[in-house]
Symmetry: C3
Subunit: 364 residues, 3 copies
């Protein structure tokens, strides 16, 4: 997959790859006191271009990922940049990466985007995760050389998210993540167990983060605050298990913003801006029915702190829970797959939502 | 042209290509009761990048076309996506394509963009054709294996045009097209007869389409309706003839919107939104003076239904007709050509317009 | 660096390359009557993709440069196009280039963007230079075949800058540049003397330009005028000297707009639009401490005509001068370098600014 060229002396290599996703979505949105409203949309959900390789020596790696789908752009920006980084990997215990990339926080968000076993990530992730940011990461995927049993990531990021321009109050995002794989190394950066691993494999990870003086309502994403900045504390626990075609991914996420709100003036009017504090968890599993066919299931749930943003409270109250099932046909593994899923999104009260999606995901 | 790499087993291939267009335009716009106003502009009209090839087997093809010119973007979108599709071509009589691509409606619009014999498409096309959309197409370019004499396309599209996000009322665009080439196969997907075909070649095609509940004023393009949706019926008849350096392209287009208008409320004010119903035709011809030099001529004319959108009535009344001539220097066929043309745009009344254009179109 | 493919007959070649820049900026902005305000930002400053090569024969060259950084886009445009041109170089004394590219005016602006010895160009350049535009250039880098001693550029451009769409009043930008290299040819299109040239090399250039009826306040960039157009006259003198690791770049820039202002009506209100007339100079130097390490220094200063735009007068009064120092680690020449610099920006009065920047610039 992809073009690769390399210099004869091995000092340089470069690969160009692409990926796209086509999606059909049918939504049945409940309406208070009226019939459910059905809508549909079909989209080129995303097109990605990758340019990656190494320069000077095989341990100096770079990756460039551009995203060109209509929904891939940040409001107000025309920049298609997702990943832009260089990494020096000569030291097994201390890889150093600098650039824009996934904040190494929870597992469900950082699984590579071509390797999902549902049409899209769980609902809860959009609210509670930390998204791509610009910064620096120290890491090892095989800390101390124990056959991949130990891994860690330490990160220092701007904290305002990807493709930000404009000066901000000093205040970084600090992240630490540790993971153990007690039964040995395996690829937990991809969902599903397409290889039907002959022996059970487990990853358990914990992560914490502190985002100091961010100006965005979901910490690294969402509305930009104008009255002042907020501090966010984050925590995550996650696990991946794979064995003989069965795969399980579970994680819990926590976010605490402070202060709860700031009062100020926007365009001459008094205004109040809220931070968003809450927690939640997700469990999802898949089983390979045949070498190419997988059935999947998922549940995720959000909670909100009672003194947090009223908009978040309303969101959780009416749409904080999701149960879903799916079926995947891996025609060429994750590189060419057709995915269908159904999700039922609901809360403790209010109208519910049915979501039926069909997707083709192709890499080349 | 372009980079191509292929795997040794023939299962994969990929090609990268580019194309750009530079254009100088001088316009003399008539002004009621004043001197004609002359303006000029020079532009990188478009830059295209293509990534195409096959995956898994030679019959599973994909194409990606990105367009980066300043005018190539939809209002409110930063996505450069033009074509994104996969097609399975193992069955001669039933090719299946899914993705975003040209709606297979009329010939003058679907001729490939690098293969035009004028600087740009006829005026009428911008109003009456169906543009790129996201959907699914069944087709054959050699139906029943009769040496390319018969071809067909059946399409099912979203109906709202390219790079649309946001749910819409269910309601698809249905398209059917049939074509015969009674004297045998030839390339009618490119204008001009650069090869000076030794025997006459003819294509005659008919197409019909029905766009149910679209929210765009020109069916798949144009202003987005906010009050409600409209249904559009479309029909086209077209023909291409080539022989000994002579090429002729002619087509008639018809569009009928219903209802004629909808009354509603926009931002608290009463408002009326109109559909646009009309028809028109175009004839264009070229002759190869030498192996590299072609002279061309064109005429096209629009009509409007008298109870249709008053803005369309005014547009047709003052600028519904176009007569043009051109000269093309094909330095490397359509892959590197210099094109000049002149058009006179006019209506039954009102100010007229002179348009002089010079263009370099290069593929690499 | 980059992918290159070429046809066996030598008629075609194509290269794909990339470059990116990551930058950390710390700014201490003085505030009248308050403490200095410190802010910081970190950015993927730019990502560039290049596609270049030749078609038909080695003397017909093309270059495409796309820029994808968040700040690389013009307001209101999603087009990433920087350079798009074809050039015919068969005649040593008369190269012909057409497309969008650097206006061949002053040296400090036209030095290639990957070849800078500071984190960014001098302050004065953003105000007084001529930027990329669409047009045509005649040039020779070795006029009359005197071993690169003489070079010239004559250009005819639109005058409104890059990626402009929309008709404009006729009125072009005319540019002429002449340069001599009395001690013989050398690469003055890159800063620094990384090769430690064994013999002294000097370039002295003069350039003049006239931008007729432009609609942009800085001639080819800046705010778009709406009341009317202005004429700008430009002049530049510049020099580059390199010897044994020492490099010096100096230039003076002059711009004269006429009329000084236009009065008119904008949105029903009386309004006045000003042209910006001023001059300035810059001197910068670098010395290679080792084969990979360079120390640099810079000074630049702006002046404004007293009857010019009051906003420009205020800008020059408070921030018209800059003194800077820097340190560069060229790990792989300009293709992979780490740059740090410090600048002090000040005027005759008002608050001052400290600027500390750290940057990684990598080509691949």
């Amino acid at each position: 997959k992809g073009f690769t060229v390399a210099s004869e002396d091995g000092k340089y290599s470069a690969t160009i790859r692409g990926r796209f996703q086509m999606r059909e979505t049918v939504t049945g949105q409940g309406v208070e006191g009226a019939d459910r409203r059905w809508t549909q949309e079909q989209q080129i959900r995303t097109v990605r271009l990758f340019l990656q390789g190494h320069v000077l020596n095989p341990d100096l790696k770079y990756t460039l990922q551009l995203a060109f789908g209509g929904n891939d752009f940040e409001a107000g920006s025309s920049s298609p940049l997702f990943d832009v980084w260089v990494e020096y990997t000569a030291l097994r215990d201390l890889n150093l990466r600098v650039g824009q990339f996934f904040v190494p926080f929870d597992r469900a968000r950082t699984i590579r985007e071509s390797g999902l076993q549902f049409v899209d990530r769980p609902l809860i992730i959009g609210e509670l995760t930390l998204d791509r940011d610009m910064g620096l990461m120290l890491s090892s995927n095989d800390f101390l050389g124990k056959d991949g049993v130990l891994s860690y990531n330490l990160g220092f990021f701007g904290g305002e998210g990807r493709n930000r321009f404009g000066a901000s109050t000093p205040g970084l995002l600090y992240v630490a993540r540790f993971a153990v794989r007690p039964f040995g190394a395996f690829d937990d950066d991809v969902e599903g167990d397409l290889q039907r691993l002959p022996k059970p494999r487990l990853m358990v990870g914990v992560a914490g983060a502190y985002n100091q003086k961010t100006n965005r309502q979901r910490s690294t994403t969402g509305t930009t605050f104008v009255i002042g900045t907020f501090d966010y504390a984050h925590a995550a626990v996650d696990t991946v298990f794979k064995y003989n075609g069965l795969s399980v991914l579970a994680e819990a996420l926590y976010r605490d913003g402070s202060p709860n709100f700031r009062d100020g003036t926007v365009n001459g009017q008094p205004a109040r801006e809220w931070s968003r504090s809450g927690w939640g968890y997700l469990v999802q599993a898949g089983y390979m029915l045949t070498s190419k066919l997988e059935a999947t299931g998922r549940f995720d749930l959000q909670k909100v702190r009672s003194d947090s943003d009223p908009a978040l409270i309303a969101q959780v109250e009416t749409a904080g829970r999701e149960v879903g099932v799916g079926l995947n046909a891996y025609l060429n593994g994750h590189a060419f797959k057709i995915q269908g899923d159904y999700a039922y999104q609901f809360g403790r009260t209010g109208p519910t939502r049915h979501l039926v999606r069909l997707q083709l995901d192709a890499s080349f």
